[in-house]
Symmetry: C2
Subunit: 82 residues, 2 copies
């Protein structure tokens, strides 16, 4: 069966996010001053062939660890869409 | 009050995602052959000052429409973290 795994990858809270700061400036220039912080990460959808959701989750976690996320600078969360 | 709005921006289904195809090839080389498709988008967390969640959602939607998403090539979803 094919499961859809969602991987959310965000820069670690302890690190500066210069891309987010640039977007925050852009939003203020557009008059959206009520936005006080922006952090930008990646969202990756994986189609995973597996026999059950637990196996699909494990495969998606392995993909995130081995290739998708840089754990020096980023944290990731994996979930399976039901 | 400060709300956290999550904006998920993905390439439209009708469009090729060359970055996703490259990552799919990388996963296969790493032995993760059970992943059959990869699509890569952005995940943006906004801190929004608003008096209620509906107002925060509206502000985040406006930010996505005006700056964050390119609606020619991307679709977006906005949600408020409770």
């Amino acid at each position: 069966m094919t499961y859809t795994a969602q991987v959310k990858i965000m820069p670690l809270k302890e690190l500066l996010d210069p891309q987010g700061k640039a977007v925050l400036g852009g939003l203020k220039n557009l008059g959206l001053g009520s936005v006080s912080d922006v952090r930008i990460g990646k969202h990756i959808d994986l189609s995973v062939e597996a026999s059950n959701p637990e196996e699909a989750l494990e495969i998606a976690r392995e993909a995130a660890r081995k290739l998708l996320a840089n754990q020096v600078m980023e944290q990731f969360e994996v979930s399976i869409l039901s």
